[in-house]
């Protein structure tokens, strides 16, 4: 019987070694270890074995089984690995073939620039507000300290709808609307369309966007204005950006300033982009004029504030190096796709 087992084992191992496919191994497993397999048959013939020898024979059968099983598993593993490798080899693809993209659309560069500005000021506690684009003359002008026949009205080439209604020439009237709401303090940002009768060309458009900022509180100073806009410029144009405040005149702020930032192309050394000056003008600002505060029902002795206005297109053109403003309103997909 020992010899018989030895024979079975030997034969099984030989067959296993000779196998080159997983299916064959399975057949071998069934042939030797299955319910009707050869080892099982040996076990079945145990009844012919003397009872005292049975444990020994049992042991021998189990040993043989273990050896065959071990060899089977080992061989299966090797063959499986081989099959997987063959599969992988067959499945090689050219990874440089073109990608399959989901065709998502693109945000308008104006909006991208606006969202950057909004992100910065919302982070500083500003609420984003809106006001009407068709606006009363007295909000667009009078309450901003620009009475009828003020020369500044000529500078802005306003579109009129009637004697008392205009297409707003600036986002500043939203300042007045915010102040008239009467909730203090105010930290607001008001982006939107504005209109001026400029003929369309590479640098002008009769319709463009501004972003107005307004802060009203007790003890707001010109130093606060400088600090706020310096932070803004650094966030928008990079941490190395410096700002320069130049005195200027706006009827609704006093003192007023125009703000230049160091050219973000050359860092201030002077280049074609900044026309050699190293500086680029980006916005106008100032301390809210006491007349404007009083007209909106705020006591200029108790409260002060600052306001600023940024041209959105100007930021977008500068930041994305767009050389013709008309591109922003043509909506040619080859342009929009770049953003």
């Amino acid at each position: 019987m020992r010899d018989q087992l030895e024979q079975i084992k030997k034969e099984a191992l030989k067959q296993i070694e000779a196998s080159d496919a997983l299916e064959k191994l399975n057949d071998i497993k069934v042939a030797y270890l299955g319910k009707k397999g050869e080892l099982t048959n040996v076990l079945k013939s145990m009844k012919d074995v003397a009872p005292e020898d049975r444990p020994k024979v049992g042991q021998l059968v189990n040993d043989a089984r273990a050896v065959i099983e071990g060899k089977l598993e080992e061989t299966i593993a090797v063959l499986q690995k081989k099959v997987r490798e063959e599969q992988l080899n067959k499945e090689v693809i050219d990874v440089t073939l073109p990608a399959k993209r989901s065709k998502s659309g693109h945000t308008h560069p104006n909006t991208i620039a606006l969202e950057e500005v909004e992100r910065i000021f919302v982070g500083m506690g500003y609420e984003v507000m809106e006001g009407p684009e068709v606006e009363y003359d007295h909000y667009n002008f009078e309450k901003l300290n620009i009475p009828k026949n003020h020369p500044a009205r000529d500078e802005q080439d306003t579109f009129y709808i009637s004697d008392s209604i205009v297409l707003r020439s600036q986002t500043s009237p939203v300042q007045i609307r915010a102040m008239e709401e009467g909730k203090l303090p105010i930290r607001m940002l008001a982006p939107g369309r504005v209109f001026r009768s400029d003929e369309v060309d590479a640098t002008h458009s009769p319709s463009f966007h501004q972003i107005e900022g307004l802060v009203i509180d007790k003890n707001i100073t010109f130093a606060d204005l400088k600090g706020t806009l310096a932070e803004f410029a650094k966030e928008l144009f990079g941490p190395e950006t410096k700002v320069k405040f130049r005195p200027h005149h706006f009827p609704f702020t006093e003192p007023s300033a125009e703000v230049d930032v160091t050219c973000f192309k050359c860092g201030g050394d002077g280049c074609r982009f900044c026309k050699g000056s190293g500086w680029i003008e980006i916005l106008g600002c100032g301390m809210v004029h006491p007349n404007v505060l009083s007209m909106s029902g705020i006591d200029p002795d108790e409260y002060s504030g600052f306001a600023f206005g940024v041209g959105l297109e100007r930021i977008a053109l500068l930041k994305y190096e767009i050389d013709d403003m008309r591109l922003l309103y043509e909506n040619d997909i080859r342009f929009l796709k770049q953003f």
Binding site: T107, H108, G125, E130, E135, K218, A223, H249, E254
Partner: protein
């Protein structure tokens, strides 16, 4: 406003500064320098030459050979110029030097032109004699130069000396951007005052001396002003025995640098004083002033007048005129008349320096369609106290230049003297506004530099009348800030009560709308808010369409930009058209912008501005792709009810069989459809195009960002498929309505999985198949429960004439 540095230095003698330093410092103190030009930037090695001899070129008829003493040596120069003679002093550019331009007077090359010695037709020429064009000027601006030919220097010029100096070209011309509030800076004196303060140098304005003979102007002229409001001051003086001649070169140079062409001594003096004092002046020929009387009064409606440029101008009663005893001789503050202008034959003249109401001049200038240097200054509102200074300065120049004999006395009609304002001096308040700690003494020093006085007893700052812009503490604070330096003001951040930074709810919804649109492949466009009324025809809108009721612009840039849009479609279709015509394939665009709907015509209040979300595309996709985008938007904004689509009948710009109103919870919130083929033709799009417009104010109330978790189903679903024969005119929407109404609480969903028309189906019918799913949240559904509901649904469908397919 342009000024040469030399003129500024004349009144700020201690000023020593490079052009760039001047530019930077003036800009930082509030007088913005836009740019500068050094007149000598390309003039190198140019000296006075003395022509010692001239001989003819042996091989060229048009050339001459000159021996020219240039100081240390004598050089030979060959030239084609014909206006030089032996003994002339001329500017000579030496070998290796540089000139600004060519002799033809064309555009000046940026780097100038280098001059080297060479041979002209075999004869050596060492250097070049210069014309005014080669020196960078024109004979128009430099009338002392011959029209073509070499500039001839004065006889006393010393050979070898710097000719550029002699020509007055070692100068820099600055261009300023003066803000509208600083009328005083539209003058050399105003800018010089600022320059002196900026550089902390003393300001030495010209000393105006007494002028005039022993006669009395009142014996010659009578002046009356009928409207003192429109003409707060009128000064007149007279000059007789006028000798018209060119003005001296120094005056010509200053005018040329300011961009003013020198004409003759009288014209040049008025222009010179206008630049210097910022006060426009006018001169009338006394012999053409009827009755020797000047009356300042408004015109009458319907009057016409010929200005000195020969143009006929229409007048009305709001326009202030200068009249003589019989007729008008000038439009006040704008332009004089042809009938009394100064000619070369003038013997006696009346000088006018007046102050007119700025607003009136501005409006009149618009009405007569004429804007002049003078009106541009008057309309800003001039200081009446400046008028007399300018007048006397002009007379002083007349005498200095020997241009005539000034008649003694002055007629000065100035009933209400303009006094300077007082503003309380509040240094603490100013420091609080600026965020600075500047001492009161320092502030007063700054004020003194710009001629603001201080009354210690009342502690008021005394404002001179030329500073009409200073009215309150904030204005005074700016004066302090300017001279302290905006750059030296510290930097801080507001530190008051904290506020919450946020977007409004509307803006949040718009942000999500943009995300959905872009996710679905639409790129954001922007179009103008105004358009042509003709677009309504392109969109096939009937004449009585309410969309034709528009907000109109009174002063549009043209018809194409004349009405505020009442529909976003033109903007979208126009953009699609642009893309189509540029052969861009499959373009998807969206726009978020307002339409403007008048509440009443004529407009008594602001129109309604409604934000529209507009989608448009051509190329890949169809009606149902567009519908998918709309529903994606609803889902992402928490609009979880099923939207309904009602075939649209009132949208002439859409395909009548392929358009629908979008209805949510019973409310129409937009429309969707294929663009009418006639409309796509109108926009030159030769493909099907689709649009959807969502009226955001209608949609926003349904949006909801509140989310609540509903347990994931534990019990199995039961699905039943039904296949139906449906009359063709029944919409699947009607079938779905029945399923929804009759499906009961356990209806989980339904899905259309087949729709078919054609063979095997009776004509007039279509085959429609739905898969309907039921699920209960608390038990496994029994077969008979589902069958009962299905029966209800089928009964309902039968009511629509629908049969189950065999």
């Amino acid at each position: 406003m342009n000024t040469p540095l030399s003129w500024i230095k004349a009144y700020v003698p201690e000023l020593v500064v490079s052009p760039q330093e001047y530019t930077d410092a003036m800009t930082l103190s509030g007088t913005k320098v836009e740019g500068f030009e050094c007149l000598d930037k390309n003039l190198e090695k140019i000296v006075v030459g003395h022509i010692l001899s001239i001989e003819r070129h042996p091989d060229a008829d048009k050339l001459i050979i000159c021996q020219v003493n240039v100081g240390e040596e004598t050089v030979q120069i060959v030239t084609g110029a014909s206006n030089v003679a032996v003994g002339d002093k001329v500017p000579v550019v030496l070998d290796g030097g540089k000139v600004a331009g060519g002799h033809d007077g064309g555009a000046l090359p940026e780097a100038g032109i280098k001059i080297k010695k060479g041979k002209l037709r075999g004869i050596e020429s060492c250097g070049m004699m210069c014309s005014i064009e080669e020196l960078g000027g024109t004979s128009e601006m430099y009338p002392d130069a011959p029209e073509s030919g070499i500039y001839i220097l004065p006889g006393d010029a010393i050979p070898g000396e710097d000719a550029v100096e002699l020509l007055g070209f070692h100068d820099t011309v600055f261009e300023y951007e003066i803000t509208s509030n600083r009328v005083d800076c539209y003058s050399v004196i105003g800018i010089a005052r600022e320059a002196a303060a900026t550089f902390r140098k003393s300001f030495v304005p010209p000393v105006v001396t007494a002028t005039g003979n022993k006669e009395d102007i009142n014996d010659y002229l009578k002046v009356s002003v009928k409207d003192n409001k429109l003409c707060p001051r009128y000064c007149a003086r007279m000059v007789k025995n006028i000798k018209i001649a060119p003005s001296p070169v120094w005056m010509q140079r200053r005018l040329a640098a300011c961009g003013i062409r020198p004409i003759n001594n009288i014209v040049d003096i008025t222009n010179y004083v206008m630049e210097e004092f910022g006060q426009p002046m006018h001169a009338f020929d006394y012999d053409y002033i009827a009755n020797h009387e000047i009356i300042v009064a408004c015109a009458k409606d319907g009057d016409t007048f010929q200005t000195l440029d020969g143009q006929e101008r229409k007048l009305d009663r709001s326009i202030l005129m200068i009249n003589d005893g019989e007729k008008a001789v000038g439009i006040a503050g704008i332009m004089g008349g042809d009938n009394s202008k100064i000619t070369d034959d003038v013997k006696t003249m009346v000088f006018e320096a007046a102050c007119f109401d700025g607003t009136n001049i501005r409006l009149s200038s618009k009405k007569v369609g004429l804007r002049t240097d003078a009106s541009g200054k008057f309309e800003k509102g001039l200081d009446p106290n400046n008028a007399i200074l300018a007048m006397n300065r002009a007379c002083q120049l007349i005498e200095e230049l020997g241009a005539g004999e000034v008649v003694g006395g002055i007629i000065d009609i100035y009933p209400e003297t303009r006094e300077g304002k007082r503003i309380p001096f509040e240094p603490e308040k100013m420091n609080r506004l600026l965020g600075t700690k500047i001492s009161a003494e320092t502030m007063l020093e700054y004020y003194k530099m710009i001629e603001l006085g201080y009354d210690e007893s009342s502690s008021d700052i005394l404002i001179p009348t030329f500073r009409q812009d200073l009215e309150c503490m904030a204005d005074l604070a700016e004066e302090v800030a300017r001279f302290f330096g905006y750059d030296k003001i510290p930097v801080s951040l507001p530190n008051g009560e904290a506020t919450t930074g946020k977007l409004s709810y509307k803006l949040r919804v718009e942000q999500i709308a943009r995300e959905v649109a872009e996710f679905a492949g639409f790129s954001q466009g922007m179009t103008y808010s105004f358009e042509s009324p003709k677009v309504f025809d392109k969109l096939l809108l009937p004449i009585d369409s309410p969309l034709r009721v528009t907000v109109n612009i009174l002063n549009p840039l043209g018809e194409d930009f004349s009405v505020m849009r009442t529909s976003p479609l033109h903007g979208m279709l126009n953009s699609l058209s642009t893309n189509y015509n540029r052969r861009n394939k499959s373009v998807r665009l969206y726009e978020l912008a307002n339409i403007y709907l008048p509440k009443a015509i004529p407009l008594t209040e602001l129109p309604e501005e409604r934000m529209q979300l507009t989608f448009g595309f051509y190329g890949d996709g169809d009606f149902f792709d567009m519908k998918g985008v709309v529903e994606e938007l609803f889902e992402k904004t928490g609009m979880n009810k099923k939207p309904h689509y009602k075939p649209a009948s009132d949208k002439p710009f859409l395909h009548p069989g392929r358009s629908a109103e979008i209805i949510y919870d019973g409310i129409t919130i937009g429309y969707i459809g294929e663009v009418h083929p006639e409309v796509t033709d109108n926009y030159k799009i030769s493909e099907r195009a689709y649009v959807a417009v969502i009226d955001m104010p209608s949609m926003i109330p349904f949006t909801d960002f509140d989310r609540k978790y509903v347990g994931i189903a534990k019990y199995p679903a039961v699905t039943r498929d039904i296949s139906m024969v449906v009359p063709k005119n029944i919409l699947v929407g009607q079938i779905e309505e029945v399923i929804e109404q009759r499906g009961g609480n356990n209806l989980e969903g339904y899905e259309l999985f087949d729709i078919y028309e054609g063979a095997q189906i009776l004509s007039g019918f279509k085959s429609v198949a739905y898969s309907i799913t039921f699920r209960a949240t608390d038990h496994t559904l029994e077969d008979q429960e589902v069958s009962a509901v299905m029966k209800k649904i089928l009964n309902g469908l039968q009511g629509l004439g629908i049969e189950l397919r065999a």
